[in-house]
C-alpha cells in the first residue's frame, strides 16, 4: 500500500496549521506594537502597556463570547445593548441597596436571558443569527432607554466600584477578571464536549446533527454565553465609570467581531481561537492607545484604524499562506 508514503503528509500539515493560526496574529501584534514603539517613546512603557490591557479588557471580554458564537456559525450584534440593559438594571438594584453579590448575579442573569431569547429564535424558529440579533440590537437598547428614561444611573456603592477599580499586584482587576474568563472560555472550547459541539455545529451542522450532537441546545448555549459575557463587560465598565448608561456599548459588536476575526475566527463558522481573539483585542486596544499618545487628529485616527485592520488581516494571511 502507498500508505507509508502518504501518512506523514497530514500530520505535518496539521501541526503546521494549528501552530500557525495564532502565529499570524502574533506577528501582526508585534509589527503594529513595534511601529507604535518607534513612533511614540511612551508607548512601550510598563504602565502604558497595563493601560492598553485595561482598555482592551472590555472588548476582549465581549469578544470571548463573540468568538464562540462565530465558531458556532452565527454572529451576535446585540452584545452592546445587552450590556447596557444589564448595566442599568444592575445599577438600579445597587442604588436600591441590593447586596453586591446578588447584583453581580443579576447582571449576568440579564445577559443569559437576552442570550436565551436570541438563541431560541435562532435554534428553534430557525431565523438567521444576523437578523435576530440585529432586532435584539434595537430591542434591548430600547428597553434600557425606557427603563431609565434615558438617564445614566449614578451613586453606586463604593465596595461595588472598588471590585473593578482596584488592582492586584499592580495588575488592574478588570484585566485579571477577563483573563480568568478567557481561560474558562479556552478550556470550555478546547477541552469539554460542549466545546466540540460548538466546533462541530459551526463546522458542519448536518454532520453534527447526524452524529447526535444536540445542535439546538448548543446554539442556545453559545448565545447565552455571549450574553453573560456582555453582562460581565457591563459590570466592568459600570464599575470603572461609576455610572450605568442606557447608551452603553454603542458599536461594541463591531469591535468584538473585529477582534475575533483578526484573531483568526472565520465568520463562516467552524474556526476560531480564544488566544487569537485576545491578541486581536489587544491589537485594537493598542491601536486606539497609540493613536491617542501620538495625538493623531480624529480623521487620521479613523484612517489608521481602517488601514491597520486590513493590514493585520493581510499579515495573518501571509503568515498562514494561502489555504
Amino acid at each position: 500500500m502507498t500508505i507509508e508514503s502518504v501518512e506523514p503528509a497530514p500530520r505535518a500539515k496539521l501541526s503546521f496549521i494549528s501552530s500557525f493560526r495564532d502565529a499570524g496574529v502574533l506577528i501582526g501584534l508585534i509589527v503594529i506594537f513595534g511601529i507604535f514603539a518607534l513612533l511614540s517613546p511612551s508607548f512601550m512603557t510598563g504602565p502604558n502597556l497595563l493601560n492598553v490591557l485595561q482598555q482592551s479588557s472590555i472588548n476582549a471580554c465581549i469578544a470571548l463570547g463573540m468568538t464562540m458564537v462565530i465558531i458556532s456559525g452565527g454572529i451576535d450584534l446585540s452584545v452592546g445593548p445587552t450590556a447596557a440593559l444589564s448595566a442599568v438594571i444592575t445599577a438600579s438594584l445597587l442604588v436600591a441597596g441590593v447586596p453586591v453579590p446578588i447584583a453581580l448575579c443579576v447582571a449576568i442573569g440579564v445577559g443569559l436571558l437576552t442570550g436565551l431569547f436570541n438563541g431560541i429564535l435562532i435554534a428553534y424558529a430557525g431565523l438567521q443569527p444576523f437578523i435576530v440579533t440585529l432586532g435584539g440590537l434595537s430591542l434591548y437598547r430600547a428597553l434600557s432607554l425606557i427603563y431609565t428614561g434615558g438617564n445614566p444611573i449614578f451613586g453606586l456603592p463604593k465596595e461595588f466600584r472598588s471590585i473593578f477599580t482596584s488592582s492586584m499586584m499592580g495588575i488592574p482587576n478588570p484585566v485579571i477578571i477577563v483573563a480568568v474568563f478567557a481561560f474558562l472560555a479556552w478550556f470550555v472550547l478546547n477541552r469539554t464536549p460542549f466545546g466540540e459541539y460548538v466546533l462541530a455545529v459551526g463546522g458542519n451542522r448536518e454532520a453534527a446533527h447526524v452524529a447526535g450532537v444536540p445542535v439546538k441546545r448548543t446554539l442556545i448555549s453559545v448565545y447565552m454565553i455571549s450574553g453573560a459575557l456582555a453582562g460581565v463587560g457591563a459590570l466592568i465598565l459600570t464599575g470603572r465609570l461609576g455610572a450605568a448608561e442606557p447608551i452603553m456599548g454603542n458599536l461594541w459588536e463591531l469591535d468584538a467581531i473585529a477582534a475575533s476575526a483578526i484573531g483568526g475566527a472565520s465568520l463562516m463558522g467552524g474556526r476560531g481561537s480564544i488566544v487569537g481573539t485576545l491578541m486581536g483585542a489587544v491589537i485594537l486596544g493598542g491601536l486606539r492607545n497609540g493613536l491617542t499618545l501620538m495625538n493623531v487628529q480624529a480623521f487620521y485616527q479613523l484612517l489608521a484604524t481602517g488601514i491597520i485592520i486590513i493590514v493585520a488581516m493581510l499579515i495573518d494571511r501571509l503568515a498562514k499562506g494561502k489555504a
Partner: protein, 325 residues
C-alpha cells in the same frame, strides 16, 4: 427667494433672547388649536429631552399642542429627515428642527417653506437656508471654557481636548473655539485633541492615556458632559482630582451634581429648557406674524462651584439669574 447661507455665529440680522418682549411687546396667546412640531437629534441625551420640556412648558402655558420627536440616535440622518417630512404632511403651524447635520433636513425645510410653514432651526447644526435660528453660539462653548483655563492658570500649561464624533458640527465648533482662544493666548500647549465619539467609556480611556503621558496636565475640555464625566472618573482613578481641571459642555443635571460633589470643575450650560421655551416663543410669535430677526441668540454660561446655586434655578428665577450676569 434664496437666503444667504446662514452662519449663526456671525449673522448680522440677530437679537438677544432677552430683547424679545422689549422689541415685539408682550406675548399674545396664539389662535385656538395651534399645533407646533419639533424634531430633534436623540432623546438618549438629556440635553435634547430638556429642550423638549422647554417647548412643552411654554406651549402648555398658552394652550398650544406640541409634538416632539427625535431620531433613533445621533447618526440617524435619514430617519430624522423622514420624521420631519412626515410631520409636514400632518399640517403643523410651525416646526422646530434640531438637525443632525447642516443639511440632512434641507428637503423638509424646502417643502415646509413652500407650504408657508415657518421653520425654526434650534441649536447645533445650522441649515444654511433656514429663515430662523434660535440657539447659542456653538463656538462660544469652547471659547468660554478656554477663557476659564486662561484665568485659572495664568502661567499656562498643558491642556487636552476630548472631542465628540468626528465631523459633527457641534464637536468641530466647540473644539475650534477652545483651540483658537487658547492658541491666541499663547501660554498653553494643547498636548492632545482626540475623538471619543460622545462616549463616556472612550473619553475615560483617552483621558487615562493622556494623563499617563503628561502627568503635569493642567486640564481637559470635553465637547459634552457625558464625556466630561468619563474624564472625571479617569482623573479620580489616578488621584488627580482637583489637580486636573475638567470642563464639560451642555449643563446636564449629572454635570451639576458632579460639580456640587466637587469633582467636575465646570460645564458650559446652554440652558436647554430655557432655550426650548425661547424657541417655542419665537415660533408662536412668527405664527402671530411678528417680524423676528433671523437669529435669536440664547444664553450660555460657565457653571462652576462658585455660581452653581445661582443657575440651578428654573423658570423666571433662572432668567433673572442669567440676565443679572
Amino acid at each position: 427667494q434664496e437666503l444667504a447661507p446662514l452662519n449663526s455665529d456671525t449673522e448680522a440680522d440677530r437679537m438677544d433672547w432677552s430683547q424679545l418682549e422689549a422689541r415685539f411687546g408682550a406675548f399674545k396667546a396664539p389662535k385656538e388649536r395651534t399645533r407646533v412640531g419639533g424634531v430633534s437629534k436623540t432623546l438618549a441625551n438629556e440635553y435634547w429631552r430638556s429642550l423638549g420640556e422647554g417647548y412643552k412648558a411654554f406651549a402648555d402655558r398658552h394652550g398650544v399642542e406640541v409634538v416632539y420627536q427625535a431620531a433613533q440616535d445621533e447618526g440617524d440622518q435619514l430617519g430624522q429627515l423622514a420624521m420631519a417630512e412626515n410631520l409636514i404632511t400632518q399640517g403643523y403651524d410651525a416646526l422646530l428642527f434640531s438637525p443632525q447635520t447642516d443639511v440632512n433636513l434641507q428637503p423638509a425645510l424646502e417643502v415646509a417653506t413652500d407650504k408657508g410653514i415657518p421653520v425654526i432651526n434650534v441649536n447645533d447644526a445650522v441649515i444654511p437656508q433656514v429663515a430662523h435660528y434660535v440657539g447659542n453660539v456653538q463656538k462660544d462653548n469652547g471659547v468660554r471654557a478656554a477663557n476659564w483655563m486662561i484665568k485659572a492658570y495664568p502661567e499656562g500649561g498643558k491642556l487636552a481636548i476630548i472631542e465628540g464624533q468626528a465631523g459633527v458640527f457641534a464637536a468641530g465648533q466647540r473644539t475650534a473655539g477652545f483651540t483658537e482662544t487658547i492658541e491666541a493666548n499663547g501660554k498653553f500647549e494643547i498636548v492632545a485633541s482626540v475623538p471619543a465619539n460622545w462616549s463616556r467609556e472612550l473619553a475615560y480611556n483617552a483621558a487615562a492615556t493622556i494623563m499617563q503621558q503628561h502627568p503635569d496636565l493642567k486640564g481637559f475640555y470635553a465637547n459634552n458632559d457625558g464625556m466630561a464625566l468619563g474624564v472625571v472618573e479617569a482623573v479620580k482613578s489616578v488621584d488627580q482630582l482637583g489637580k486636573v481641571a475638567v470642563i464639560g459642555t451642555d449643563g446636564i443635571s449629572d454635570a451639576y451634581a458632579s460639580i456640587r460633589a466637587g469633582e467636575l470643575t465646570g460645564t458650559i450650560d446652554s440652558f436647554p429648557v430655557l432655550t426650548g421655551e425661547i424657541a417655542m416663543e419665537v415660533a408662536l410669535r412668527l405664527v402671530n406674524g411678528d417680524d423676528i430677526p433671523r437669529v435669536v441668540a440664547t444664553p450660555q454660561a460657565l457653571i462652576t462651584s462658585d455660581n452653581i446655586d445661582v443657575f440651578a434655578s428654573t423658570g423666571e428665577a433662572l432668567r433673572k439669574a442669567i440676565l443679572s450676569q
